[in-house]
Symmetry: C2
DNA sequence: GTGAAAGCGCTAACAC
DNA sequence: GTGTTAGCGCTTTCAC
């Protein structure tokens, strides 16, 4: 049986109130007493119950982290960053996969609330009517990461999707492409909308007419990527380049093109939003827009802990720059070494 | 402010004990009363405090999951499986990255204990002197996954590392290789030791002498892979094939070989333990020993929940079969389509 | 500077 | 069947 604060109090010959004060560094305790208490605690291998503390102070030392799917390497890196920050702050991380389901998201939010979490980091499935509203109304700090929430005024940390997308398309145009297809998430999510906007702007800035037939949007997963890659190869309007809006779409597109025997970059040049380690392992290596994922998570967590610690500064939005990493999949065959 | 059980009791005109019983499906409550309570709870949007419950029953509805690094795709899949199971059981998952540090592992275990977690799933950094001993002594259910713990008698779920490794090496031998290098984790961990043993057995069964110079062991990460790949290319004893003991080592080895301009499978045939999605995207595609990772996590979680629910059956060990997925990196050039 | 006592929200033992 | 009561292990007034 783990020992309790009472055991320590008895052993140190003081009251449990004093033990509490001594151990949590509260003022008005004599150094001698602190030492006694520390020693007693050590001998009894005492570790205060975080559960009891949570109940008493009406707030646990756990933060919730809601993402759509930990299997997506983008989120994996985010989780890692959040976990590191939490650990530094002696907080625990409660991991929740929403699977892009509003219902699962809602269920998890209720769970987190019942656990009295200190705060929540969320990459929400919904921009509007977000279940997070509950949290907000209960004054539980929330930080949106990667995806905005429009109906709840919360701190937000995301990558510059617009300029990232712009730089990718601009790069393709520089390489001589004018018929550029985009395979991306639906415009009803932050990421999809902004990346599409960047695409359009890049075209516009180079006086290339926007063509609806070159836009393929859907749920950003592998299957969507595959299906659209197929559609692209069979379309009467043949693009010479494809811009993939996230890593999963890239996997799908790439997989299909490889099976279909298409050559990259000769048949289609390719740029991916999100950079993956294995993009350097393929032939050709894959050009990508790199998001500072770890930094995204770190800053989001920092912001959350500021709020948890009582900050009342106005709601902030942090936008981090992306970086275009040019590799072989987007550079014309002649230019490949 | 979230409403409490008392609010519901008042509204339904019963005592809070009755509310508790009614809502948690305990016997001896009239259906009428149950209905009244349910309605009151619904109207007040009541969700029982899991924290208070945890304190009262001395056990939270959270399980701890300790892995070395969520960034490793192997663990990512494991986490996903565990989270799915936990979610089904209305449990939360508290995620801990140990970074292969015994100290971090110990710290997390203390934290989990202070959180009164219902159980712990762990891929431990240490086979002996495991900090998990604490948990065991406090009767907190533990299940070891992927890596054994030798000094604590706990349920264990892992892949058949020996036969997985054996099949990989056997396959390489079938392809005509006799000088096969192995790059793997140190033999002081379950995975490293068993995979090395499988390697040796395969050689022995084909009367190929074991050669110490072909064995490269270290911390199983990318850097180690790179360094050993370099050593291999410069070694006087040139292998014709390389067997990589896990996915990170493969990334390192592959990265180096690519940069060094080596051809696979001509210069070195390659087989990787762990299968990754992107192994089908490279040229050549990569032969791999696939572990049923999701299943590993699922079964481990199932076992844990059995224990949490009071099972006292003898300690179990579940070993899941691996599968050799033959691709281009291990088949001789002539045989590649 | 320290102790006594109340109470966070729930459940379980015991009455009736 | 249902209510009363105690108490899980802490923190935080309020005394002194």
């Amino acid at each position: 049986m783990p020992s309790t604060i009472k055991d320590v109090a008895r052993k140190a010959g003081v009251s449990s109130a004093t033990v509490s004060r001594a151990l949590s560094g509260k003022p008005h305790v004599r150094q001698v007493v602190i030492d006694q208490v520390r020693e007693a605690a050590l001998e009894l291998d005492f570790h205060p119950s975080r559960v009891a503390r949570s109940l008493r102070v009406q707030k646990s030392s756990i933060i919730g982290l809601i993402i759509s799917d930990i299997l997506n390497p983008f989120f994996t890196a985010l989780v890692r960053a959040v976990e590191d920050s939490a650990s530094r702050n002696e907080y625990g991380v409660f991991l929740c996969n929403s699977d892009e389901s509003v219902e699962k998201e809602r269920a998890y939010i209720e769970l987190l609330q019942a656990e009295n979490v200190a705060g929540v980091l969320i990459s929400s499935t919904q921009e509007n009517d977000s279940p997070s509203r509950r949290l907000f109304e209960d004054r539980i700090p929330i930080v949106a990461v990667d995806r905005r929430m429009l109906d709840v005024p919360v701190d937000t940390v995301l990558a510059d999707n617009f300029s990232g997308s712009y730089s990718a398309v601009d790069h393709l145009i520089q390489q001589g492409h004018t018929r550029i297809a985009i395979v991306a998430a639906q415009p009803n999510r932050t990421t999809g909308r902004e990346r599409l906007a960047g695409y359009r702007q890049a075209l516009a800035d180079h006086n290339i007419p926007f063509c609806d037939e070159l836009v393929y949007t859907g749920i950003p997963n592998r299957l969507t990527g595959r299906l659209y890659a197929k559609e692209i190869t069979q379309s009467p309007i043949q693009p010479t380049a494809i811009f993939c809006g996230n890593n999963l779409l890239t996997v799908g597109v790439l997989g299909y093109l490889k099976e279909a025997g298409c050559n990259i970059p000769e048949d289609y040049a390719l740029v991916s939003f999100d950079d993956m380690e294995w993009y350097t392992m393929t032939s050709p290596t894959i050009t990508a827009v790199r998001q500072p994922v770890y930094e995204l998570g770190r800053q989001a967590a920092d912001l959350l802990f500021e709020r948890i610690n009582g900050s009342v500064s106005p709601v902030k939005e942090i936008v981090l720059e992306t970086q275009l990493v040019v590799r072989q999949s987007s550079t014309s065959a002649r230019r490949i070494v």
